[in-house]
Amino acid sequence: MLPEVSRPRSVARALRHRTRRLPTGARVLLPWTRSHASTPEQILASVARAELTVVATAPYGLLLGGGDPDLAPLAAVERTHAWRRLLSWLPEDPLLAALVELLERTLVPRLPLGATRHALLVLERHPSLPGGPGPREQRLRLAPAAALASIPPEELAAPLTSPRARYLMFTLLAQLESRGPDQAAQSDHAGAVLPPPYAAEYAEWRAAHAADAGATALTRAWARDCEGRLRRGVDLTLAADYQLVGDLLSHHYRSFPEDT
């Protein structure tokens, strides 16, 4: 295992220096931490210049923050108070902790380099085959469906009995779906990773979010083009918003079970 190299300009030189005596085919492990000075592109370029090939990348630390905003699945939520509240339960909720451990073991290492702040790189001394554009491109592309498929559904069932774990998992899936290159294809995949009862709950949860967004947007939009709604700069239809959202959810989106 190599010590982490932090100064970017010296990375290629340091790597070459430390690995030059290794025979072709020898492998080394390089710890890497993302920073402004060491992006995934930069480290992969340095590795290639040092005449090494990337055999594998293993990102870790999904919940530690600091990933590339375009690649990190949780970038949109990890700075919110709501997310910090969720994570505060990690020491108290063994099922939540078990889910995180499962994700770190299965999904996270298959995320692209840069999706988390930290990663381990397996490098091979192979001067004739420098890390080419093919594998590098692959390592920078988000492929959530393939990564998700690596989670054994039977191992998810127990952790997901915790409502906190369900919230974490559903949020992660929804974020991955919204970031996938082909959203329609991703949605099927995302829910499919869950054991059946939770797959259904996830689908309902997504539908509930969509209904909330739809009802809220329609409530604000329907009268926008009617100038007559304004009096002294005030939109009179504001008066109807509160009950209208409830009416739309109940009777248009049919979001609630029928009364028995």
């Binding site: 509240r85 969720l86 509930a208 009179l236 109807a240 209208l244």
Partner: protein
Amino acid sequence: MAASAVVSLLWDKHLPALDRFLDARRVDVVLAPQAGATPLLHEVVQRHGSELVVLDGLRPRRRQDLRIDEAITDLDTHLATDDWLPPDVDAAGAARLRELIGNRYRADIPAAGAVLQGLVTARASYDLRLLVGSEDVLSASKVAFAWARARALPSLHLAHSLALVDPYTVHAHLMADVLAVYGERGAEGYLDLGISPDRIVATGNPAWDGYAQLRTAREKVRRALHDKHGLDQRLPVVVFGTTWSARLTAMDTGHAHTDTLRAFLRACGELVGRGVQFTAVVKDRPSNADAGRAVVDRLAADGALDVHYTVDDTQEWAVAADVLVAVDSNYLVEAMLAGTPGINLPGVALRAGPPAFDAESGIVEAGPHDLAERIAELLDDPTLRAGRLARAERALDRYHTGGVDGRAAERVAELMARLADRTTIAGTAAAPPSSGQRLRERLHHAVDVVVGHRREQR
């Protein structure tokens, strides 16, 4: 010189703050909508020698007349067109939307319009200083707060609860200039929405100032409730605070009152089965009295369980309880104030969401499957119990600023005074009309206990 006036859309429970404000500031007139002109408001206003004027009773002069009827006619014409329809709606869906929307604004605009008309009329006769209310999303108050912003009249929304569930749909915005929350925890959902920390102030809840005294009189409170309900004094008391489905978010599972009660009563049954002796109390909302009692009777009918149902003495029960169970509820913050261990029951009333409490709050989380166990251990294990209570005590200030210092009404009154005074300064200086920026600057100076800033200082 025009008589000075403040507009109050406060609920009765928040009137102690208005009371303190009127102690500190001479105001000639308090304006309130008919719906908010309660006997208690009359009493508070009269005590300070001010006059209560009902907004929707004011008669506009001809040029002030807003002609609300014509607005409704214009909206009817607009609704009949297809211009506003979402693209994915079929003919039946369009007809349904027209009916839902049309019925709603025709029902809600007249009353809210009358309050708006009252505000416009009042502005011509009074020197308005401040608009303050207990919510800014319901029909008339939403319109009133929008008007205050449009007229640069400082406005304060004193939250009627700590937003433990992140603000959704109708709640996911802030109409008022400034939001007073009970503790920093109450700001989190609004900050996550992107609302500026400069607009949020943590004051505590005037309605909870009574806990300062109540919790020092725990034994007396317990005895009084035991006597009132004929309870066995030797048994511990487990109180369940009910919830209900407002159906204003699709995250609501729809039957929260019954579903959560069933979970609680089932847990009680389990405890009885294990030989745990205790008194179960269901504390329901007054508005739910008859229906709630019927549900409890039905659910508890087949068990050997004796459940006491009540809609009264909310704060007293929080103090008298040995364990308090509730659902993502402010009643659990009251348990923290009361020094009573609390258990939250998430995942039944709402679909999966962010936890209402952080783990450091001392509030325990339980699901229907382990609720009985969590109750039993808090009753039986003094060390666990003391640990939870100590945590809650440490976290209390984040959930309720000032803890149990009993001074929330005072802090809200001070905030009201600072906001109202800025109006006076701007008015007498014959300043140019306030731009949004100027208003924000004024408010910024008016507010010194700003949630976000406090956080940064840590």
